[in-house]
Structure formats: C-alpha cells, structure tokens
C-alpha cells in the first residue's frame, strides 16, 4: 500500500479504539509468541464437527507449548468462532490477517464459511490449512498458499460409491441432501460419478434440513425401487430423522453416506438403537477398527486422549484426530521452516507421506489435496466405541 503509515488523530470511535494496537510494527522478538489464526464453528446449525475438531487442536497446541513451544516461542492460538455464518467469517479473516498478523490460518472448518474466507486469505497472502471437502476450495493457481489435509468431496463420494457399487454390488440408488453449501455440492458431484460406475440413480432431491417430516421423501424412494439410500448432510437432526423414518417404515435398506451419520449427536436423536443397523458412513482407514484393533498410530493417540481425559462420548475420533493433525502439522512446519509465509508454503509443497493420526498427507507444488484416495473407506456406524468404528463388511483387511 503506497500510503505511508502516519500517526493520524482519527476522531471517530471506530478509529480510536483500534488505533493503539494497529500501529505497533510487529518486530519478531525472540520470545514473541507465534500467532496461529483458527476459525472453528463452535455455535450455530452446523457446529457438531467444529466442536469435535476443536478438542484435538487445543490438545495439540497445549502439548506443543508444554514441551517448550517452537524453539522456546509459544504458539498463540487466536480463536474466532464463525458461528456457521459467512459474514462473521469474513470479518474474522480480516482481523486475523491484518490486525493479529498470524503466521498460518487453520480453518474455517465448514464449507460455507471456507468458500467466503479462502479468496480473502489468499489476497492477504497468508498460508491456509483447512479440512473442508468442497473441491473448489483448492486451486494451486488462484490460491497458491491454500492446503487441505482432508479428502475432497470427490474422494469422499468416490469412497462411498465404490462401497455401494463395487463392495455391496447394488444397482438402484437414491441420493438426498439438505440445502446447505456442502449438501447441494456433494449431490451435484456424486450423482454423475455413480452413473459413471454404471449404477442407476432412481431418486435425488434437496430438502430443507429443518423440515420435520421426511416420510414423503422415503416413500418416494421406496416406490422408485431404491436398494440403498445415500444422504449427504452435516446436520445430525436431518440424518437422524432419515434413520428414524426408515426404522418406522420397517424398510430394510442400507444407508451409505456422510460421516455425521455416525456422530454422537445423530445417535442421541435416534428413536430406537436398531435404527443404526445397516448404516455405513465415510471414514478413514487410519482411524477404523480392522479385525477388532485400531492401527498403531490411532491406538497410541486414543491412549493419549484417555490420559488427557478428553470427552469422547458425543463426538468422533477422526474429528479430534483431524484437529490434532492440523495443529501438529503447523507446529512441525513452523519448527522446520519458521513463520515466513513463503518458507511455510515451500515446506508444505515438499511434504511426502506425513504420518498423521487421521491420514497420511502428501502435497506437491501442483497438488494441494493431501489425503490419499485409498484411505477413504466406509465403516459400520453402530460399532461406535471410543468415537471409532469397525470397517464396513466386505473390505479386504
């Protein structure tokens, strides 16, 4: 910006209140804490994911700081709750990049807010790490500093489609979603993929998540001859009503879909425990029980959570693991490359098979989607134990 910074006596309340903190040039003293921006959605309609991830992130940052931080410099996690509202996300991004001058931004955790925040964070040239699945969020040319440590919508849908068509060998499928950004985007992506694999999509619709009665939808699916229902939504209330209605109708059909199908919030809203039978949700090989046992890294992570007495009952292991991996990745990167944006991005571009609890991450300068296709699997939602599930039947262990 060509306008030099001069001390200007701004008369209005707006200027004065922020004048003091805005001006001090952030000389990076040795013991100055490294600021990391963090945009979880802790309240509002789609906040169940955010609350889970947040537990992992906070635990990781506390451990890093307890172990002396980054070469003696503490990590300061600056949290702004986006409340699942894009307008709040935009304000928060401007504060984190300009006012707080953070080194990295982790989040937003919901696609709605991420779609609004990503272009702004890219414009302010701050490295961004996020776990959202909407494909458009990663574009090496438009957003060179944006990296994803979770699968894309295409990978998640691909995993679910693979299970229905290739593992369960079913032909007629019904696909339904709520009306949020995530819901509609998923259906638009997965229906063509399903057809490409030779399956017949007999029914598809977007339904308002607050609609209390889903019976008409399921009745139409049944009359269309659907052999599997694939719901795409992060709204636990909406998913539980699908399962309750299926149970009430006594319709024996598998439900294959999004991870929230297996969340504690969904379970709490079920009329009967049996409604959770034959329900398979996306999950991730690294955090699933295979033959009764978790992979080594996940086993060790669960012990760590138990020692730190982290609440597991009402959320999922992979959410917490995701939060943990994000914080750990940022910690290691800062240790290796320091807080300068270009160094961080250079370091991330060279990351190969990074051993995350949630997933092994690989980035290249051309590919900023770090999650491997093979680790996107399905799991049995009613096998929930310590937030983790059994691998769905049919996979080669």
């Amino acid at each position: 910006m060509s306008i030099t910074r001069r001390k200007v006596l701004a008369g209005s309340a707006v200027g004065a209140a922020s004048l003091a903190s805005g001006l001090a040039a952030p000389a990076i003293a040795a013991n100055e804490p490294i600021k990391i921006g963090y945009l979880p959605a802790l309240t509002g309609p789609s906040s169940s994911t955010g609350i889970g991830i947040n537990r992992g992130t906070v635990l990781a940052v506390d451990e890093i700081n307890a172990a002396g931080g980054i070469d003696g410099r503490k990590i300061e996690l600056i949290v702004r709750d986006t409340q699942s509202d894009p307008t709040k996300a935009v304000n928060a991004v401007a504060e984190l990049t300009q006012r707080q001058k953070v080194a990295i931004i982790f989040g937003p955790l919901n696609s709605g807010e991420a779609l609004a925040a990503t272009p702004l964070i890219a414009r302010d040239k701050v490295p961004m790490l996020h776990p959202c699945w909407v494909d458009e969020l990663i574009d090496v040319k438009k957003y060179p500093m944006a990296f994803r440590i979770a699968p894309t919508n295409t990978q998640v849908g691909g995993g679910a489609n693979y299970y229905v068509v290739d593992v369960l060998k079913l032909k007629k499928v019904a696909v339904i979603s709520d009306t949020t950004g995530y819901g509609t985007a998923s259906v638009n992506t997965y229906v063509p993929m399903l057809k490409a694999k030779g399956a017949e999509v007999v029914y598809t619709n977007h339904v308002d998540a607050a609609n209390p009665d889903l019976k008409p939808e399921l009745l139409r699916m049944q009359s269309a001859g659907a052999q599997a229902i694939m719901p795409w939504s992060v709204n636990a209330g909406f998913l539980s009503r699908i399962l309750n209605t299926r149970g009430a109708m006594g319709w024996d059909v598998p439900v294959v879909g999004q991870t929230t199908l297996g969340s504690g919030q969904t379970k709490a809203l079920l009329d009967k425990p049996e409604n959770w039978n034959k329900v398979y949700s996306n999950n991730f090989r690294q955090v699933c029980f295979a033959g009764g046992k978790l992979p080594a890294r996940a086993e060790e992570f669960v012990d760590r959570l138990k020692k730190a007495k982290v609440e597991m009952g009402d959320t999922l292991l992979w959410w917490i693991a995701l939060g943990w991996d994000g914080a750990k990745m940022m910690g290691e990167t800062l240790k290796a490359a320091g807080p300068k944006a270009d160094d961080i991005v250079a370091h991330w571009n060279k990351t190969k098979d990074w051993p995350g609890v949630y997933g092994t991450v690989t980035w290249t300068p051309e590919q900023h989607n770090g999650f491997p296709d093979t680790e996107v699997v399905m799991c049995e939602v009613n096998s929930l134990k310590d937030g983790a599930f059994n691998l769905a039947p049919g996979y080669a262990v």
């Binding site: 910006m1 306008i3 910074r5 001069r6 200007v8 701004a10 008369g11 209005s12 309340a13 707006v14 200027g15 209140a17 922020s18 004048l19 805005g22 001006l23 309240t43 309609p45 702004r80 709750d81 409340q83 699942s84 509202d85 894009p86 307008t87 709040k88 935009v90 304000n91 401007a94 504060e95 990049t97 300009q98 006012r99 709605g112 779609l115 609004a116 272009p119 702004l120 414009r123 302010d124 909407v134 709520d178 009306t179 949020t180 950004g181 995530y182 819901g183 509609t184 985007a185 638009n188 977007h206 308002d208």
Partner: protein, 598 residues
C-alpha cells in the same frame, strides 16, 4: 412588533442552522476519508460493512423512520441485489455483464422488489404489513436456495469483483464510502424537501396530509422504489465484500439489525439512524466473547429504546428543542398581510350543495340539504349535537359520497370519496382536534399546506436540482408569510408539539392559507380558546373572507357566530331548520328552542 412586511428568516440565521446541522456529517466524512491511512484492512472491512449496511438503512430509514411503515424483513432487498449483481457478473443465466452494469441492475431489481413489498402497505394495517414483509424475506431466501442454476442454490455463487478504479482493497473501500455519502446526501435532500415533509405528515397526521393534497399511494410507491434501489445496490456491494455468497449469509438477524439501527437512531432523522447503523455494525467486533449473544443484546436494546426513549439518539441530540419557551406568548395576527398571502388569482366561485342526502346504516344524517357558501362571505353553520354539521363538512371534504345530490365549486362537480383532490380545487380545511406533526417544526407543519404548489419532481428533490431549490425557497417564504398573518412567526423553528392548544389552532389556519384557498372550512376553531383569542380569531376569519375566500364556519360558540357571520344556517336532524342573517336567526323562535332544548 416586527415591521409590517414579515421578514424572511435572515440568511445568516438559516445558514448557521444548516452548518450546525452538517457538523457531525463533516466529522464522519473526514473519518471516512482518512481511515485508509491507518492501513489496517480489518478496520477497512468493518467500515465497508458499515457503509454497505448504511446505504440500505438510509433507504429503509425513509420507509420506517419517515413514513412510519414497519417494514421488518428488509434483508430481502440485500439478498435480491446481491444475487442479481453476482449472477449477472458471473454470467450463470445470461452472458456475463460488466460489474458496474450488474450493480445498476441489482439496484433496479431492488427497486422493483421494494414496490412489490410496499404495495400491501397501502391497504394493510401495521401489524399485517410487518408480517408480510417478514414473510417476503423468508420467501426470497428460499427462492435463492431453490433456483440452483442461477443462484448456485445452497452452494452459493462468487461475488462480483469491481475493476479499476474501485478494485478490491482500499479502492473498493472508497467505492462504498462514496456510495454511502451519496445515499446520505440524497435521503437528506428528500427529507428536507416537500416529499420528506409529506412522508412524515402521512405518518403523524394522515388526514391533514390528505386535505393538503398529498396523494399517499404515489408518494409511498416512490419511496419504496428508492429505498428498494438503495437496498439492491447495497446487496451488490455486499456480494463483493463477502467475495462468495450463500443463502445462509442473509440471516433474519440482519433484518432486525437494520430495523433496530433506525429506531435507536430516532424516527424522522438522518444522523440518528446513521450513528445507530455504525454502532450496531462495529459493536459485535469489539464484544467478541458476547458474539453468541449479539442478537439477544440487539433485541434487549430495541426493547429499551421503545420503552424508555422512543425518540432514539436524535431526540437526545435535539438540545435546540429543550430550551424553555417564554411563558406568556401572545398570538397577534396581522390580517393586513393577507393580500400577499392569498394573491387573488382564482376568481371567486360559489361552493354549493344541492339536495344532498346521506345516511349511515338506516339513520339519515343529511336529509336533502341545500347550502351556498359565497366568496367574500363568512357562512356560519350551527345546530345541536347530531344535527349533521360535521357530516356536512366531511361530505364537502370528500370523505363520504352522498346518496343523492351534488357538491359543486362554481359549476365543477367535486368528485366524491377523493379528499386529496380537494386541494386542487383550492378547498382547504382545519380540524376539530388540530392535526400536527409533533416532531417537526411549526414552519415545516405549515409548509405541508403548500405541497401541491411545488413543481419539482421526486427525482429533482433527490438531487436538489434548481426547480427543487426554487420550490423550497418559495414554500419557505409563503409559510413564513402565512405564519406572520396568523401571528406565529416567532415560533417558526419550534417543534410543533411544544405549542399551546390555541397556537395549534392558528397554525392549522396558516397551513390552510398556504393553498391560497378559494373556500376555507373551519371545524369548531374556537373550542378551547380564551375570550380575546376568540376575538382575534374572528377578526382574522373576517379578513380572510373579505379577500374573496368563501368561509364556512362550523361552531358551537354562538357569540362568535353571531359576531362575525354574514349568513347563518341552522341544521337540525340533517335538515335546514332556518337560514338568514345572524339577526334573523338570533330571534327565530324555533332556532332558540331547538338550540336551547327548551
């Protein structure tokens, strides 16, 4: 006593008031201009959001603050503007437009939506209208969700990016600043024009506005059009600020925010709502931990405002009107100035009722009435309660359509049930209980009377083009003259609700004189006046009639009637009991007994 010719307010005093009023705006403008020097784009984003919300609220302020229509769901304008601009720029439904053109289109769609939402206001009661605007807002959000291929449905669509010179960053900041300043300037111009005064008149004194010739439908539609346009433009800017819009970005809380900002600011002011909007946009940023409770706090603030200071910030800042007025004020009319006020251009026509009949649910209120009010005469109309005096007045004013018979001015038949057209026929009237705009100055109240004499159009007032300024000057001078005639020119700048009852009576007469009436109807003007005030009133009425105006005086005070009337008609049970000169009526046997109930 001021000299004979009433002084137009000295240029110095008027301009001093205008500067004094502009001081806060200059301060705000300076802060806005210099803010980029802080080079903190976080403050920049907050300021841009405040400008964008103010552009919408400035328009909404005319609807809620000035016209008093409770339009709650106004976020729908923002949504429509945002999606129109975004969709046209992205070219989802049509070939891609240039962003600035798309913004104009956004404003046009907003204007159209404003009229669609505004139409019910003409027919529906306040609560019904509030409900419909709320319903409209939920519908717009749901259509945005459903119309996937244009709006991107739940996924949303990228916002427009404006090229040079208002490219993203401080360029766009100044774009928002300039548009906000423009919106403020235009709404302020409109508020200070005869349209603004007519708006407030519709809110506080609808019947008086109608009698002064204000056509409520046309004016309200124009205001809704303009407010909708501002809402649409704000929507386009909002889409650009958000860089990506999804339906859940347009929450019900925003509607509440816009609404509360105006109410906190205070009805009938521009500065108050502007400060209200700034405060409500900036507040959540500083109250980070409370952010979860932001809507709760807004609602609590609204409740406090409504219960404790309905006048809002504007009332608090209005120290001018708290200075005490000196106690014993004398009303000293100057009838000699009447010649200049009434400047006899229209020839004196007779107002005549021939064989008029009107009944309410079987009861015959007026049973075959013939009446003539000749120019240059004061015609008294008396009779016991329920004799049909006020009903006759209301028939002439056009509130009721007679079943039979006609009301004519000269030989032109007056259209029934069209009170607002009476002003065009130069028929003016006052009311039994004075109708005033409490919050406006006495001068503004009187200027309402001359609304139909202005030639400038709505748009010209928006931009204070020459015809607007000429209208204002002429109206102001005519109003001061009318106030001088009735003896209230010292109180021109005082808020009308601080006047005593008798002064309000004379103020209403001044407002009626603004129409240079061919026929003036007075509905019990002497009620609540002291003896010598009645004497001065009588002299003024006589002087008005001698200038060629036909005066109809409906009154209980028998002594005033017999003192100043040239002719008197006594009504009883809707029929003429007796008619003649005051002396004849005075000694008419049936009159006295009917009148006295002997």
């Amino acid at each position: 006593m001021t000299d004979a010719t009433a002084p137009a307010p000295p240029a110095r005093a008027l301009s001093l008031a205008r500067i004094e009023g502009a001081l806060p705006w200059i301060a705000l403008g300076l802060v806005g201009l210099l803010l980029p020097l802080l080079d903190d784009s976080y403050i920049g984003v907050i300021a841009q959001r405040a400008y964008i919300y103010w552009i919408l609220s400035a328009g909404l302020n005319l609807v809620v603050g000035y016209a008093g229509q409770i339009a709650i769901g106004w976020v729908s304008m923002l949504t429509l503007g945002a999606y129109t601009t975004a969709a046209l720029t992205a070219g989802t439904a049509t070939p891609a437009w240039h962003p600035y053109l798309a913004l104009v289109a956004g404003g046009a769609v907003g204007a159209l939506a404003g009229v669609v939402v505004g139409l019910p206001a003409l027919r529906l009661r306040t609560f019904y209208f509030a409900m419909t605007t709320l319903g409209f807002a939920t519908i717009v959000t749901q259509v945005a969700l459903a119309w996937k291929d244009v709006t991107g449905g739940g996924v949303g669509t990228p916002g427009p990016v404006f090229p040079w010179p208002f490219d993203p960053g401080w360029g766009f900041y100044y774009f928002c600043f300039i548009l906000a300043a423009l919106a403020t300037w235009m709404t302020a111009n409109l508020a200070a024009s005869r349209f603004g005064r007519a708006l407030v008149a519709i809110r506080d004194a609808e019947v008086a506005a109608e009698a002064s010739g204000v056509a409520k439908p046309r004016l309200l539609i124009a205001v809704f059009l303009f407010a909708g346009a501002l809402g649409g433009v704000a929507g386009g800017l909002f889409a650009s600020l958000q860089s990506y819009i999804t339906p859940d970005a347009f929450t019900f809380e925003m509607s509440v925010l816009f609404f509360i900002a105006i109410l906190i600011g205070g009805r009938g002011s521009i500065l108050g709502p502007a400060l209200g909007t700034i405060v409500l946009t900036v507040l959540p940023e500083f109250a980070a931990p409370l952010v979860q409770w932001s809507t709760f706090l807004y609602a609590a603030l609204l409740l406090l405002i409504v219960l404790i200071i309905p006048g809002g910030i504007a009332d608090l800042l209005d120290y001018k009107n708290r200075r005490p007025l000196e106690r014993h004020r004398e009303i000293v009319p100057q009838p000699e100035l009447l010649a200049r006020v009434l400047d006899r251009r229209t020839g004196g026509e007779v107002l005549s009722l021939s064989d008029v009949e009107l009944s309410f649910g079987g009861v015959r209120a007026i049973a075959g009435l013939d009446l003539e009010i000749r120019p240059g005469e004061v015609h008294g109309l008396i009779g016991p309660n329920g004799s049909g005096k006020t009903t006759t007045l209301n028939v002439i004013s056009g509130y009721y359509a007679p079943e039979a018979g006609q009301v004519r001015l000269g030989d032109a038949v007056l259209p029934p049930r069209a009170p607002h057209l009476r002003a065009d026929y130069r028929i003016a009237r006052t009311f039994q209980t004075p109708r005033l705009i409490g919050g406006a100055s006495v001068l503004d109240n009187v200027m309402i009377g001359g609304t139909i004499d202005g030639e400038g159009s709505f748009a010209e007032s928006l931009l204070t083009l020459p015809r607007h300024r000429r209208d204002e000057k002429r109206l102001r001078e005519a109003a001061m003259l009318a106030l001088a005639v009735v003896g209230l020119d010292q109180l021109a700048a005082v808020r009308a609700d601080r006047l005593q009852h008798s002064e309000l009576r004379f103020m209403e007469i001044a407002r009626a004189l603004m129409l240079r009436p061919a026929c003036l109807m007075l509905d019990e003007p002497a009620a609540g006046l002291s003896a010598d005030e009645i004497r001065r009133l009588g002299a003024l009425i006589v002087a008005i009639s001698r200038e060629g105006t036909a005066v109809l005086l409906v009154e209980h005070h028998a002594d005033l009637i017999f003192d100043i009337c040239d002719r008197v008609t006594v009504l009883n049970l809707g029929k003429v009991l007796a008619a003649g000169t005051p002396a004849e009526i005075r000694s008419h046997r049936e009159v006295v007994s009917a009148y006295l109930g002997a």
